[in-house]
Amino acid sequence: MESVEARFKLDWPGFALDVDLKLPGRGVTALFGHSGSGKTTLLRCIAGLERPAHGRFVFKGSIWQDANTWLPTHQRPIGYVFQEASLFPHLSVLDNLRYGQKRSGGASRVSLDTAIELLGIGHLLERKPDSLSGGERQRVGIARALAVGPEILLMDEPLAALDLKRKQEILPYLERLHDELDIPVIYVSHSPDEVARLADHIVAMDGGRVVAHGPLGETLARLDLPIRLGEDAGVVLDATIGEIDAQWHLARVDFPGGSLWTRDHELPIGRKVRVRVLARDVSLTLDDPGRSSIQNVHPAVVEAVADDDHPANRLVRVTLGESRLLSRLTRRAVEQLGIVPGLPVRVQVKSVALME
């Protein structure tokens, strides 16, 4: 598969980056970690905004950096979205969009019009940046990066500077990008929720190093994920809407090895969705729970047990056919129920977040 090869070594006072990665040439890769973990620095190295003394970057066969080569930022076929939209204040929205498009030789794969349409900013074109809301500005910033027709899109926490309401406003557009663009996207984030919604692939970083990376589902189900997700520990499953129960406003999502009922979001049967199941919403029973308010109950097998952040808790990974769920239990419950790998159990899932 066409891929991206990134190797960077950088030494600053108080911070060092040491990364050697192969990234997939398609889909959304999340660079995930706490602030100071080096994820933004890694993104800047890829863009050529930082110049590490030792580095090698190969994008689908073309070398952007190695011992003898250095491609300056303006010659790299990238689109870059900064944390703050950073629009040029002296230019109108349209001229901001055209700035990069004009300079990219008109060979845009995603044309200006598509970018405007994708981000829904057609009505803003004549405005000046200072008259836009934060969310609108960031949408223009994303469209501007797309209008150059990039071969790879780099996004540095595009939602971090926005409040919750603005985030909700932009997320659907990002999900559209994910579905409609066929270029790889590298997305820096410290929000497990954004990662769960958008990423296909995750690179977890800590202290300037990569501590885990792989496909999203697999990586999140790892019990030894060195990035502490705390309350956000959980898995993401790729699923399909299998049935709608109109009477109770419920929808059944099917995934390999099981299914779950969740609130109906008026999505058609057959629609592919992502569901996120947090470890704290999953409990285990040894017997049939009988009459219970929790109606998502499935047989499963315990695969592994590991320590959690707090000494009172343990994380248990169970398998349902091909799929895996994480469950957060108290250490006492694990002890008293004798939960060990190989034990057949029933999982009860209290709530499921559905992401289109």
Partner: protein, 225 residues
């Protein structure tokens, strides 16, 4: 009313200041850009040299320039070998001296304006395929416009107010080097207080108008994105 020689002196002053400002835009901009962007050790010493005319007595600056541009000075030898003669006591001699004299008034506002723009717009432009040269003209110049305005006004006004350097370099040749400030000095020397009053009033009104324009502009609410 202003006399013929007064008007001649004013016209000469305006020409000198305009030409000096024009030249300074070309010399001051790259210096200011370098000072704003460099992390070199030389930033300190170079900044200090540029600022020297702010504190140096104009007669000292004029004296060194006179030596340099005189027949035995390095600049003088160069101009002579080019068949231009020597610069002291000519209009062009005054222009060269004024460029040195007003340099900090061009460089410092520009440097502040460039520093205020920061790194981000330059990075954004680079990710949008603009070369550094392109970025300077398409992003830096428009964003630094208020800085250019201030720098131009200050350089012009400061050159108009030049006196000591003119006396050292230019002497007092009517129509060639006798600028308004020197003309006022002559009037006073000759006890022509009425004439000195009129010309001084013109200078006062001019200087006030220039500074007023600048401060009014500066107080306009700044819009930022």
């Amino acid at each position: 009313m202003l006399t013929e020689t007064d008007l001649q002196a004013i016209w000469l002053t305006v020409r000198l200041a305009a030409l000096t400002t024009f030249i300074l835009f070309f010399i001051g901009t790259p210096i200011a850009w370098w000072l704003a962007r460099t992390r070199s050790w030389w930033k300190g010493p170079c900044g200090a040299v540029v600022a020297l005319p702010l504190v140096l007595p104009p007669s000292v600056l004029g004296f060194y320039l006179l030596l340099a541009m005189g027949p035995n000075g390095p600049v003088g030898q160069l101009t002579q070998s080019l068949g231009l003669g020597t610069l002291p006591f000519t209009f062009w001699g005054l222009v060269v001296a004024s460029v040195f004299y007003s340099l900090p008034f061009m460089v410092q506002p520009l440097q502040n304006a460039f520093e205020a723009i920061g790194e981000r717009p330059l990075e954004v432009a680079a990710t949008l395929r603009a070369s550094p040269f392109d970025t300077f003209f398409s992003v830096v110049l428009p964003l630094a416009k208020p800085g250019f305005f201030t720098a131009g006004i200050l350089s012009f006004a400061h050159t108009v107010g030049e006196f000591g350097v003119v006396l050292m370099i230019g002497g007092n040749i009517p129509g060639v080097t006798r600028v308004a400030s020197v003309q006022i000095y002559d009037h006073v020397e000759a006890m022509e207080y009425a004439d000195a009053h009129r010309l001084s009033a013109v200078m006062l009104a001019f200087s006030f108008a220039v500074l007023l324009t600048m401060y009014l502009r500066r107080n306009q609410p700044r819009k930022e994105a």
